[in-house]
């Protein structure tokens, strides 16, 4: 089951090289000019490696490096977790470059929990399974191109 949230509390998953500021990714609920819904492209996200079959996967979709860096997403998705795999889709997208940040909200509090030093304490991942060095993966590593071919672009992501 997919549902779009007004704001998804996607932590910034570490500032460069460290764990520090966790801030929410702002994702508009109602499509605006920045979030067109009239495209024909589609992204399917298949997540494996879920350790706890509870809570939800919260994901945010970005269509630019600036948006990715500043956590201004174009779509968000919350999917309840009931098994060790989870799938959801972003539909009606224009062609272009995208990247995804997601985390497993294990305790269902709607936030990416961090410890006192700001390190995430819930599993997270990026598109392309991109990794950062104890921080968020860079846009260039996480971005992928989506074309409107009629088949969904699949992102198979393994949770850390």
């Amino acid at each position: 089951m997919n549902k779009t949230l007004n704001t998804i509390a996607l932590a910034a998953i570490f500032a460069t090289g460290t764990a520090s500021c966790a801030h929410a990714a702002d994702v508009p609920a109602t499509p605006t000019s920045a979030t067109p819904t009239n495209g024909t492209a589609e992204i399917t996200v298949d997540i494996r490696g879920v350790k706890n079959a509870k809570g939800a996967i919260m994901a945010a979709l970005f269509d630019s490096e600036t948006g990715y860096k500043t956590n201004k997403g174009v779509r968000a998705s919350t999917t309840n977790v009931t098994a060790d795999t989870v799938s959801f889709s972003f539909e009606h997208l224009p062609e272009g470059e995208y990247a995804i940040k997601l985390f497993h909200d294990v305790n269902g509090d709607g936030e990416m929990n961090t410890n006192l030093f700001g390190m995430p304490t819930e599993p997270y991942a990026f598109s392309n399974n991109a990794t950062g060095n104890m921080g968020p993966a860079k846009w260039v590593k996480a971005k992928f191109t989506v074309t409107a071919t009629g088949t969904a672009t699949v992102q198979a992501i393994r949770l850390n």
Binding site: G17, T18, A19, S20, N113, T114, N115, L116, F117, G118, M119, P120, T121, P123, Y124, N129, T131, N133, M134, N160
Partner: protein, 513 residues
Amino acid sequence: MTLDFTRRSALHILGAGASLGAGIGASIGAFAKSSTANTALSDFESFAQSSRKNPWTLGWRSVPASDMSTAKLRVVSGKIPTGLSGTFYRNGPALFERDGLRLHHWFDGDGMVHAYHINADGVSHTGRMVRTDKYVREEKAGRFLASAFGTKIDNPAPVSGPDDFNAANTSILPIGGELLALWEGGSAYRLDDMTLETLGAKTWGKGLKGMPFSAHPKVDTDGTVWNFGQDVFHNRLLVYKIHANGELAGVHLLKNVAPGMIHDFCITKKHLIFVVPSFQAVQQSDTFLGKFKWLPQEGQRVIVVEKDNLDARREYELPPGFQFHYGNAWEDNVGDIRFSVCAGDDSFITKGATAVMRGEKFEPTPTYLAHVVLYKNGKARVEKVSKERAAHEFPQFNSNVMGENARYLYTVGDSFEDAPGQSSILKHDFVSGKITGHNYGQATVVEEHLFLARPGSSREDEGWLIGTTLNLETQRTQLNIIDAAHIEDGPVCILELPYALPLGFHGAWKGTA
């Protein structure tokens, strides 16, 4: 990344520099004469070559099995003293090689915890690798996956936090019915205190999952445990206060703590003392250790906070230095604070601890024992206590005088001339100024010895020193018990394992209730 990681003991202040004991090292087997690093060889090849000719390399070989046990240790001499009953735990890096790769830095070895159960009938031994997340994943993968403290791994697996490379290899803390395997940069790992089975990472409370919990917690005389976790990348340090029953009393964040590597700290009756060494995380690197730089121009900064008000803070300047370990600390009626330290520089952590992994000789600056005085008026002074029997490490004292003006301090000392390691256990009497001790001989490497007060004791040195040694001739690890009041008589009991264990770091004692 965050926090600190691991580092630990500078045991084995290798090399000569300061050896005493005539002829020490002579029979240890000469080092390869060409002791300059042959960088054409990998760490693996270099160590393999060296281990064929240098008996001392035994201390840095991977442990032969992940789980070991001996029902009854052979008694080599003497008998177990009446009244000594409990478990002696130890921890240390024990696995150094996977898939043809040898770790570059000693402190990266995966931790193995040992339990010596002791009573009048004899001593048993159990040793188990700590099943950290790192160890489990790397066992499965058949190779090292994480660039950890001082080793860069090619094609590393993603690292989301320090616990992904937590080696749980530094010390051990029995508390509240739990046994914790300690590292420095991440969580403590919970173990079953009898079977040593790994139960998982310890979370002390809300917001504390994955927080660093250092390897030198201080147990106050009322059982309260103090510890810290450092984040050198954000100049901060978290103080933990834990009740004797193992429940968290509280945590407190100290800010504006310069990014010098803090391994240990001290406590007085009223204060916590953190020394920030001149070895600071100021540069980029693939490894945690590589981010640190020796900055002698920086000096050292001492931060003193009150136990009852952790915001009440004062600071002092000390000459440049880096050290792993401190002895006891106390404050007098005037308010001056004194503590002892096994002082030195960064040469062991940056060079010595990688040389041993390659089986190469390196002579770090020998550590020396010093007293530091922090005057109420803000001035500070360092007094060298002893120079001649240098290479002091692994300071220990009677825990009944924690935070008081202790008379005695026990250290390992006396470096071998031609090999890493030390041969003596020493007793420093700060009243008479005398140093006495026992030299285990030219082929025996001494590890940390704990002081165990005799139940009902009144004199400060009334008790036993208990510690392991590695006998390079018999290729066996020995367990030694010494009457601390008569240290120069040597062990009153020596027991022997049927195998050699790699040299470890720190231990703890849990007496039979």
